[in-house]
Structures are given as structure tokens and as C-alpha cells.
């Protein structure tokens, strides 16, 4: 008997009646308020900018403070082409200083942004750049994780999916918050 059989047999021997799958009936805030998203994002140390489709590129440029910008967002990649190479991920020449992606949607209750392979192009791009900008359509906000996962379950399955809710951080040294523990040191969200 291999370990799989041994585990399943042992469990089966003592399993009792199956309990029903519970209904999930929890309260959702009735309205989707952009202000709440902004407040919660800022509390997690994320900078939030309000823009229009025309001013997005400018906002990115200003925030980049002259750093090398790369993007995989269709409207921006001509201006900020992506040269990052997943095969040599730690190559300093190819690594963006500022990476711009567009989130599929955002969640108000925790300011988390949903990004998958199709929004990121290369998975490591959500982690390795010094700074990250995420574009988010204000109309794509949902209130809670319940609606968020309902959308995820409906859409085509992803290979890699990520909720990002701030810059990489740690409080492992005496509870002092330090940004940029391993991944990006700063995160900005541009709502438009």
C-alpha cells in the first residue's frame, strides 16, 4: 500500500457522515465607494492617483522620477516597451525600474488588485522591479473578496493569479515596518 492509499484508507475508516456544504451569506456593503478604496490603499502605504485615460501616461512618467519604465499595458507599451527577459530574470540591464501593469479589478475592503498571467506577461514582474504602478479602472471595483472570487470563478482559469495589496514589506525586525523587504519598494495605483 502506498502512502496515498494508506492516508485515504485511514481517513475513510473513521469518516463520519458528510456535513453539508455551508451557504455563504455574509453582508456586503451596498455601495461601491471609490473613497473607501483610496483610504484603505493609502493606509497600506500605496500611493493613489486619480487620472483620465489621457493623463495616465503622464502620471506614470511623473511618478517614475526619471527611472526606466517598462509596461505590458496595450496602450502604453509602445511608449514604455517591455524588454524584461524571463530567462535571465536577474539581469540588471533588462530589469525594469518601474513596471506598469493594469489590474483586472480591485477589491475595496482590502485594496487588493487582481493580476494574472495575462496582465503581467511574466510572473516575476509583479515582484522584481524596484517600483510598480498598477492601473485600475474605477468601474472595475468590487466591495469584498466574495465578489472578487465570484469573478475569478466565472472567468477563464488562470495559470498564476495574484492579489497584490501594497509594496513588499516586513515587520520582522522589532515590529518596525520596512518597505521593500524583497520585492518592489513602492506601489502606486492610478485610478481612471
Amino acid at each position: 500500500m502506498n502512502s496515498k492509499e494508506r492516508i485515504l484508507n485511514t481517513l475513510n475508516k473513521v469518516s463520519r457522515d458528510a456535513l453539508p456544504r455551508p451557504e455563504i451569506e455574509l453582508q456586503y456593503p451596498p455601495e461601491v465607494l471609490v473613497e473607501d478604496f483610496v483610504r484603505i490603499a493609502e493606509a497600506s502605504g500605496t500611493e493613489v492617483f486619480l487620472a483620465t485615460p489621457d493623463t495616465v501616461a503622464d502620471t506614470v512618467r511623473k511618478w517614475s522620477r526619471g527611472g526606466d519604465i517598462q509596461s505590458c499595458v496595450p496602450g502604453l507599451q509602445d511608449e514604455f516597451p517591455l524588454i524584461f527577459d524571463e530567462q535571465i530574470p536577474f539581469d540588471r540591464e533588462k530589469m525594469p525600474e518601474v513596471f506598469v501593469a493594469e489590474a483586472a479589478f480591485g477589491v475595496i475592503e482590502n485594496a487588493a488588485l487582481w493580476l494574472t498571467d495575462s496582465e503581467l506577461r511574466a510572473r516575476l514582474l509583479a515582484f522584481i522591479p524596484e517600483r510598480i504602478v498598477v492601473l485600475l479602472k474605477a468601474g472595475s471595483l468590487v466591495s469584498t473578496m466574495h465578489q472578487a472570487y465570484a469573478i475569478i470563478a466565472e472567468n477563464d482559469p488562470f495559470g498564476f493569479g495574484l492579489f497584490m495589496a501594497g509594496a513588499s514589506k516586513t515587520a520582522d525586525i522589532e515590529q518596525t515596518l520596512v518597505k521593500g523587504a524583497q520585492g518592489a519598494k513602492e506601489l502606486a495605483v492610478i485610478l481612471y
Binding site: 496515498k4 455574509l26 511574466a122 510572473r123 469584498t144 473578496m145 495559470g159 521593500g180 524583497q182
Partner: protein, 467 residues
């Protein structure tokens, strides 16, 4: 001879291991406050959710449902993960997890590994084994890296280095990474670690992670971190291994939503962890593995009273709130998982060896009130006390004390004789260094001192005053 034996008997119990930590109130207070800070932040998050209690009840019900159909969900999870291109392995115990991991690494020619936080691999002794087998292992969570460099174990399951002051971290980094001596600025230390770890990420051949949730319906592995260290490894290495305790399953995304709302709020008082990563399909040319681990979980599952302990999502909230944990520190628990839940689990890994742990609690029930999956921790600790007293060898010093105590308390005459006799012991003796429970601070201040003994008992006083 007697002393040696006594030492051996005393060694290793929670009461003894915490002695150093609680002697002198400075570190105790500091640790206590650091943990309470997390508890307070948790409360603030709780207050932002109107039906928080219902959320907890739902989470508990989901876990109970999943456990009641665990074999089915495990198989479903495996099928889906395989469909997604991930290889699935099953480990009966810690030894098998270690062997499977090593053989995957060997097959893929991997010599060095970057690891993200996993209490499961800690429980299974993976690091020491891999090192013995000649692999190079680097823990990449900053807190875990700190304790790894110090050759210690995590003292908390979420904040592994919570027992250390920044000066201690600074000394360790100076010694191992050549940082400036005496510079204990957290920003400086964290950025030194970032640079060093980047090199480790570049150099490593394989990545190992723990697992927070496994989604049965989609075969997805979910890992939650604040640093992004799990992803740095997973997305840059060609060989990836996720080690998952078999209680980590949830049925589908609908249920996952409930737990992503609860985990970080309960753990550190954040609305969600910075990164909630969902791994479903490997990158091209990458081999990705999941090892499903039992290691005594079937024993817990088999026990109808204790099965609820398998709901645990390892958030650490019960530690943050526990008055005993906060004041005695995680290392005094001599088990991988400390605090209330650790003391519930530990006897499954050795009744004799861990029989003191369920007693390292006041049974105040604070843990029950914060646990996001509503485990009756205090109730289970109480149950262990009864079982362990019956099923393990008695602790002689405790037994003698109890027997004497019970003799004295049973009879009013012996009781009043005993208290009268006690009153004759001079205060100068009780309050001197001869009494091992007195504590004097380094600066000479008396921190804990035996109180003055009143000249008469309450009974005597009452009689006199009544007249």
C-alpha cells in the same frame, strides 16, 4: 547523582524553559507589548467587518464540511492539480516528506534551495535533513532567515523572530553578513538582508514553499506572504515544490474568499496579506510539485474530540492574545508550533514528552474568542489535562505537592496548624535570595518579592472583631 536526575526531570518543561525569559521584567514586558500590539490591530480590523462573528462561524462550518469529506476533496485536489500540469506526491510522515523532497531535488540536479515560510517543513525537520544530505538551504522570509542564521527555531508561526530585539538582530547580521557593528536601524538591517537574499535567489536551483490553502475544485495552491519571497523563488526557478499539510484544503474559490478575509486580519491586523499568490499551472519548462503531508494528522482526524484542531489556518492569533505565551515566549513551548494551538497539537507528537504543555495555560479562553475558525482551544487543553494525567507518568514534584496540599486542605485543623506554622517563618527569609521565586533586577530594584505575611489569619481577625 540526585541533582543530575533532578535536572534531567526538570529540563525541557515549559515552566523551566520560560525561566530565563521571565526573569527580569524588561524583556517580558517588551515581548508582551509587541504581541499585544498585533492583537490590538486585529481588533481594529475586526471592527471594520459588520458581521465578523458570522464570518468566523462560516469559516468553521466550511472547515468542518471539508474535513467531513476530506478523502474526496484530497482526491479531487490531486486530480485537478495533475490536470494543471503539477506532480502530486503523498507523504505519510515527516521522514517521507524529507525523502521525497530530496529525491525531487536530486532528479532535477538541484543543489541549493530557497525556501519560503513553512511551519510544516519546520515540523518535519526538512532543513537539517537537506543540509545533512549536502543541499544548501536558505530561508527567505526575513524573520525566518534571522532565526536560521542564529541556529534557532521560529518562536512564533507568523512572526518568527518576535523574541529578538533589533540589537540582537544587528549582532547576528554583523557576525554572519558583515553589516556595520552596532547599527541596529531596522531599515538598514532589512536592506542588507534584501541584498544578500537577492544573491541567494539568483544562485538557487530550486524553490520550496509552504501552502496556506489548497483549492480542491481548481487544483490551486495559495500562498500568502507580505514580503513576496515565495514568489521570488517560485517564478525564477525551474524546480518548484509546495509542501502542504492535508488539512489545508478548501472546496472552491467561494470558500477561499472567506479565509482570505480572515487570515491576515486575525494574524497581523492587516486587511489582507500584501501578496496572495495562486499557483495553478507551472511556467513553461518548469517542474512543479505538491507534496501532501500527513505526519500524524490522521491521528488528530481520528479523534472525534480533537478533530476540530484541524480547522486551524495557522494565523497565530491565539498566540498573540495568550497571556502565558506573551510573557513566556515561543521557545518555552519546546514544540514547533507554540502557544495554545501548539499545546493542543503537541501531545499527538509525543504524550510523555509534551505532557506539560496543556498545563502552560490559564484556560482564560481568550484564544477561543479570537480564533478565526472557532476552535475550542481552552476546552481541548482542559481535556488534554485529564487525559494526560491518566495516560502519562506522574510528575513527581507536582504529585507530592498536590498530595500534601490536598491533605492540608482536607482538614480544618491541619490547615490552621499549617498556616500558623508558616507564619513563624521569618519575613527576612521569605524575602531573601533563599526564596527562588524572588527576582531582583540588575540595578538592585526588587521586581518580584514575597509579600509581607499578615500576623493573623482572616479567621482569627474575624473572630476578634466580631466580639
Amino acid at each position: 547523582m540526585f541533582n543530575r536526575r533532578k535536572n534531567k526531570l526538570m529540563k525541557g518543561t515549559h515552566a523551566n524553559l520560560s525561566k530565563g525569559f521571565i526573569t527580569g521584567s524588561e524583556k517580558t514586558d517588551w515581548h508582551n507589548n509587541a504581541l499585544w500590539f498585533l492583537r490590538a490591530k486585529r481588533d481594529m480590523q475586526r471592527d471594520t467587518i459588520p458581521d465578523w462573528e458570522k464570518l468566523r462561524a462560516t469559516a468553521a462550518a466550511i472547515k468542518d464540511h471539508t474535513l467531513s469529506r476530506l478523502p474526496e476533496y484530497l482526491q479531487r485536489f490531486e486530480e485537478n492539480a495533475i490536470k494543471n500540469g503539477i506532480q502530486v506526491h503523498w507523504a505519510w510522515d515527516d521522514a517521507e516528506l524529507r525523502e521525497i523532497t530530496a529525491s525531487i531535488l536530486r532528479e532535477n540536479n538541484a543543489k541549493s534551495v530557497v525556501k519560503s515560510k513553512s511551519m510544516l517543513t519546520e515540523e518535519c525537520g526538512l532543513n537539517p535533513y537537506l543540509e545533512k544530505e549536502g543541499f544548501d538551504v536558505v530561508d527567505t522570509d526575513l524573520g525566518e532567515r534571522i532565526v536560521q542564521l542564529r541556529k534557532e527555531h521560529p518562536s512564533h508561526i507568523v512572526v518568527p523572530a518576535i523574541h529578538l530585539k533589533k540589537e540582537e538582530v544587528s549582532d547576528t547580521f554583523h557576525e554572519k553578513m558583515n553589516t556595520e557593528k552596532g547599527n541596529s536601524d531596522p531599515d538598514y538591517l532589512a536592506s542588507a538582508a534584501r541584498e544578500a537574499l537577492r544573491k541567494d535567489f539568483m544562485r538557487a536551483d530550486a524553490a520550496i514553499t509552504g501552502v496556506n490553502f489548497g483549492v480542491a475544485e481548481s487544483g490551486t495552491v495559495v500562498v500568502c506572504t507580505n514580503e513576496g519571497n515565495a514568489d521570488m523563488g517560485v517564478h525564477s526557478k525551474k524546480t518548484v515544490i509546495h509542501c502542504m499539510g492535508m488539512e489545508k484544503l478548501v472546496p472552491g474559490y467561494k470558500e477561499l474568499a472567506v479565509f482570505t478575509r480572515l487570515l491576515a486580519r486575525s494574524a497581523t491586523g492587516q486587511p489582507v496579506t500584501v501578496f496572495t499568490s495562486h499557483y495553478r499551472k507551472p511556467r513553461p519548462e518548469t517542474t512543479e510539485h505538491i507534496i501532501i503531508v500527513n505526519n500524524k494528522r490522521t491521528d488528530i482526524f481520528e479523534d472525534p474530540e480533537f478533530r476540530q484542531a484541524m480547522r486551524c489556518i495557522r494565523c497565530g492569533a491565539c498566540m498573540n492574545t495568550c497571556p502565558v505565551y506573551r510573557r513566556s515566549g515561543g521557545h518555552s513551548y519546546h514544540h514547533t508550533v507554540p502557544g495554545p494551538i501548539g499545546s493542543v497539537l503537541a501531545p499527538f507528537y509525543g504524550k510523555e514528552k509534551n505532557k506539560d504543555l496543556p498545563f502552560a495555560s490559564t484556560l482564560c479562553g481568550s484564544c477561543n474568542n479570537v480564533c478565526p475558525v472557532k476552535i475550542d482551544l481552552a476546552g481541548l487543553l482542559y481535556r488534554w489535562r485529564q487525559k494526560l494525567t491518566d495516560e502519562t507518568s506522574p510528575d513527581l514534584s507536582k504529585k507530592i505537592g498536590m498530595d500534601i496540599g490536598s491533605k492540608i486542605l482536607k482538614s480544618r485543623t491541619t490547615y490552621s496548624l499549617a498556616t500558623r506554622a508558616f507564619r513563624w517563618v521569618p519575613g527576612s527569609v521569605l524575602q531573601s535570595g533563599l526564596n527562588p521565586w524572588n527576582v531582583t533586577a540588575k540595578n538592585g530594584h526588587k521586581e518580584r518579592i514575597f509579600p509581607d505575611v499578615p500576623g493573623e489569619s482572616f479567621r482569627e481577625w474575624y473572630k476578634k472583631n466580631q466580639e
